[in-house]
Symmetry: C3
Subunit: 137 residues, 3 copies
Amino acid sequence: MDDPINLVLFSGTDDKLQAAAVLTAGAAALGRPVNVFLQYWALDAFRRDRIDRDHGLAPEAGPEGLAHVTALRTAGQATWADTLRQAKDLGGVDIQACSLSMDLLGIAESDLDPIVDGVEGVTSFYLNAGAGQVVFI
Amino acid sequence: MDDPINLVLFSGTDDKLQAAAVLTAGAAALGRPVNVFLQYWALDAFRRDRIDRDHGLAPEAGPEGLAHVTALRTAGQATWADTLRQAKDLGGVDIQACSLSMDLLGIAESDLDPIVDGVEGVTSFYLNAGAGQVVFI
Amino acid sequence: MDDPINLVLFSGTDDKLQAAAVLTAGAAALGRPVNVFLQYWALDAFRRDRIDRDHGLAPEAGPEGLAHVTALRTAGQATWADTLRQAKDLGGVDIQACSLSMDLLGIAESDLDPIVDGVEGVTSFYLNAGAGQVVFI
């Protein structure tokens, strides 16, 4: 259980990011190291000026799913960004942006929310992951 | 190979659920324990009164993909729910609903199809997963 | 680190396939064996006469995401198919089509691009994966 769990975040909708945040927080609560690697639309959602935006839901959510998510949000549920911040406070959570996706989206490191710890390539991601599991979200 | 394989089901479309059911059945056929953890739209599809419904396909399926899926269904292909039931008959398959998603969607345990074995939090999910792999679908 | 990494490709949009190709190439560059298992819409994208087509993006990409992807493509970025071919040249990358998905989509082995090494069932996939990680994309 000392191996880190390594989450590759690809999707940028609020439901998938919330699921990812819950998996991160759960692992951190158990004292397990978590490496998060941000690609594509997930990376875009971590821009400093977009992280608090509404990022929509997966198409399958439909109007009923949207109503449930909106109700919970109105009731004060922590956003995925807040859940990740809390998980980072527990320690052991490292969030890196994928350098290829940074180039693709024309994002500079200064554009990213401070919750992101740095930028790395896929090789570094694998080296940090070691024998730990890779989960694509 | 004694470690369980742990599938986090997030998506609720019939194509992804069928893919998940096939991965479950294949592991069960090899005698490998499988833990299934239901979140969000996948959980919604396991409601007692919705499990036999048409849950649609991923948007990328398009009209051609839909035609193929419909043809196989008409020809009597087992649904993903049936494939999961058969996998459970082989033993070693445990299906749990994520307690946070239950709250989000306002689902009570009695609303769920009997194929679901119980409700648990993400910490229990990780503890049951142990050193086994986590796959997000 | 001798265990293979095993990527189940389900989605057939160019962004997810590019992410999968980058994960494949990164693992191959580190000398790690990679097994790729093609299902559903990903399999469809590996048809000989479709592999070079535009396969669209995830819905969440939006017009801004599309503009970025198009700009990089115009600038001569390697396609995911080319990235996979380069990864195969490094050795250790094996690409198999899921037999159930072949039946579903009515695809014959001769319809597939030569980058695909063969067709197998989910049981063979698991046996080749051994104790290696399974990643669903």
